[in-house]
């Protein structure tokens, strides 16, 4: 096995490095930032490991490939919180809940009392919901740093510059758009707030015809709130409208969020192919791994496994593009 150089230390690059290392192949990693951080859109992700919920709008492959993501992350040093997802809707938008239930599996309908048993602070606020008991979440930043540390223990450091040697694995996300013409950016905006007055222990999704919202607990009263889905490539911009909408939706979920301290307002663009599914693409001496879209932490393990199987054992991956040699 000749040398492999991975470009990009976001979720895709680090997961591929981890899978390669597990097969005894120690790659180089090059990322100008030198460490996982805000250069990667995965830094601003929600960290939901929610394959069943995602199936509401995603292809069946996303569910299938995402099913063992939680196990993968746990096995690779991330703290995975397995408390499921609670999907709620304001009473006037009950139809949204029915639609969501129809398009997804592995959920249990819950009534007001059952919602209160799961999340006491939501007592009396929502008459009905759906509980996806097997889903999980993690803290994306801690998870990436855990991968980085484990790779470091194997002697793999993230280089800030240098010439790639051997086969190149391009995991630069949207930055690879200069070479992947069919890649596009789908903008997302997110907030991080601290609100010790509100205690929620699992991912909550609030359905709304215009402003769907999710809240992911980060522990210590910190919550990540996201996220918009805008078909624009523009990257570093949070509009007042999005901030207002997300905050009012959070307030509708729990009025206690009105007192929250805003720690961070972030915006980034997720790399996506036209079918919103990930892809490996071999072109000459480069293997591109890209297009995780809004499913970074959910799909990166499966895509990384495919990439490593291909690179180490020559096994043809499921999501390999037509233009491989």
């Amino acid at each position: 096995m000749s040398q492999i150089t991975i470009l990009g230390a976001g979720v895709m690059g680090l997961c591929i490095a981890t899978e390669l290392a597990a097969r005894g192949v120690l790659p180089r990693i090059i990322d100008p930032a030198g460490k996982p951080g805000s250069q990667a859109c995965s830094w601003r992700a929600g960290g939901m490991l929610a394959p069943y919920c995602e199936a509401e709008s995603a292809e069946p492959a996303v569910l299938r490939l995402g099913l063992d993501a939680a196990d993968w992350w746990q096995a690779n040093g991330a703290e995975v919180i397995r408390r499921g997802t609670l999907v709620l809707a304001p009473s006037r938008d009950r139809a949204e809940l029915d639609r969501f239930a129809r398009l997804t599996q592995a959920h249990q309908p819950v009534n007001g009392d059952e919602i209160a048993a799961l999340e006491p602070e939501l007592s009396g606020r929502f008459p009905r919901g759906l509980h996806f008991a097997t889903e999980a979440h993690l803290n994306p930043r801690a998870a990436l740093l855990a991968l980085r540390d484990r790779l470091g223990e194997r002697g793999i450091q993230i280089e800030t510059e240098g010439t790639p040697t051997g086969l190149v694995v391009d995991a630069r996300g949207l930055a690879a758009k200069d070479e992947l013409a069919d890649l596009r950016g789908v903008r997302g905006e997110m907030l991080v707030i601290r609100c010790p007055e509100v205690t929620l222990t699992r991912t909550i999704r609030l359905l709304h015809p215009r402003i769907p919202l999710y809240v992911v607990p980060r522990g210590d009263g910190v919550y990540m709130i996201g996220a918009t889905m805008l078909e624009t490539g523009g990257k570093y911009r949070v509009t007042a409208r999005s901030a207002v909408e997300m905050l009012s939706a959070a307030y509708a979920l729990h009025p206690g969020f009105a007192e929250a301290e805003i720690l961070e307002l972030g915006s980034d663009a997720r790399p996506a192919f036209p079918d919103n599914l990930p892809r490996l693409r071999r072109r000459g001496g480069t293997l591109y791994a890209n297009g995780l879209y809004r499913h970074g932490y959910l799909l990166a393990p499966a895509v990384a496994r495919m990439a490593a199987d291909y690179l180490v054992e020559g096994r043809k991956p499921e999501f390999m593009d037509e233009d491989h040699p």
Partner: protein, 254 residues
């Protein structure tokens, strides 16, 4: 086929481009529906989204940009000007909203914005209510097409006021009329065509269906059925049964 501002359009179905599971599914839905026009929102999808614009241009149908999300005359006019530059078309679907829960058109602001835009050379497709006076004012303002709602946007409730839509058709027999918004089922779309409307504009009913591509096809078939029925001339409903088989020659028993 409908004609808007002198341009003949291939199909009476106008399909929106928002909320699909992926651009690939959106493109398949367009092919299945054979929609004649693609509508696109400037504010939510526009801005820097050159990639998405290219995907929309690739659909190969005329683009009707809209001013969704605008709450004032000024916002709507500015958005329309951006749209004209971006999509190189004088067409603009004019939406001015007052209330975010019903997304009911602000008809007062709508008429004013329609006049400003028409004077500026735009060909305005106003998203309006079925109010006869408002529609008259929009025509006075320079509009040559009217797009009354069937029901609030995304509600899927169908035609809330068939009487109002029918009388609008009767009042303005020569103006192209489009039912815009509120369509949830193919039967709603068929009903609009049966009422003599020239076209139907919908988005959510297809994009958020369990299988958007199949629903796109269902809408196309329903619209074709409604259009054929309108041309065929329907019978009037009546209270008493009218036998469809001639009675003479029937055996008289006992």
């Amino acid at each position: 086929m409908p004609v808007f501002y002198g341009t003949a359009v291939e199909s009476p179905l106008m399909l929106g481009t928002a909320q699909y599971p992926s651009p690939a599914i959106m493109a398949q839905a367009f092919r299945a529906s054979r929609a004649g026009i693609a509508t696109v929102s400037l504010r939510r999808e526009g801005g820097a989204g050159q990639d998405f614009h290219n995907l929309i241009k690739d659909l190969g149908v005329p683009v009707l940009p809209n001013t969704a999300g605008c709450h004032s005359v000024r916002e709507a006019v500015t958005t329309a000007q951006m749209a004209r530059e971006l999509f190189e078309t004088p067409w603009i679907k004019l939406e001015v909203i007052r209330d975010d829960d019903t997304l009911c058109p602000d008809v007062i602001a709508l008429v004013e914005a329609a006049r400003l835009l028409s004077d500026d050379g735009f060909q305005v497709f106003p998203y309006c209510t079925e109010d006869l006076s408002v529609c008259g004012r929009l025509l006075d303002a320079g509009c040559q097409v009217l797009m009354p709602w069937g029901a609030p946007i995304g509600s899927g409730r169908g035609l809330n006021n068939p009487y109002g839509l029918r009388s609008l058709r009767a009042h303005f027999p020569d103006v192209p009329l489009v039912v815009d918004a509120g369509i949830g089922l193919p039967s709603h779309a068929a009903q609009a065509m049966e009422l003599g409307y020239d076209a139907v504009l919908l988005n959510t009913a297809v994009a958020k269906a369990g299988d958007p591509v199949a629903m796109a096809r269902a809408m196309a078939l329903a619209i074709e059925a409604g259009q054929l029925a309108r041309r065929a001339g329907a019978i009037e409903p009546r209270d008493m049964a009218a036998p469809s088989t001639p009675l003479f020659g029937m055996a008289v028993l006992g």
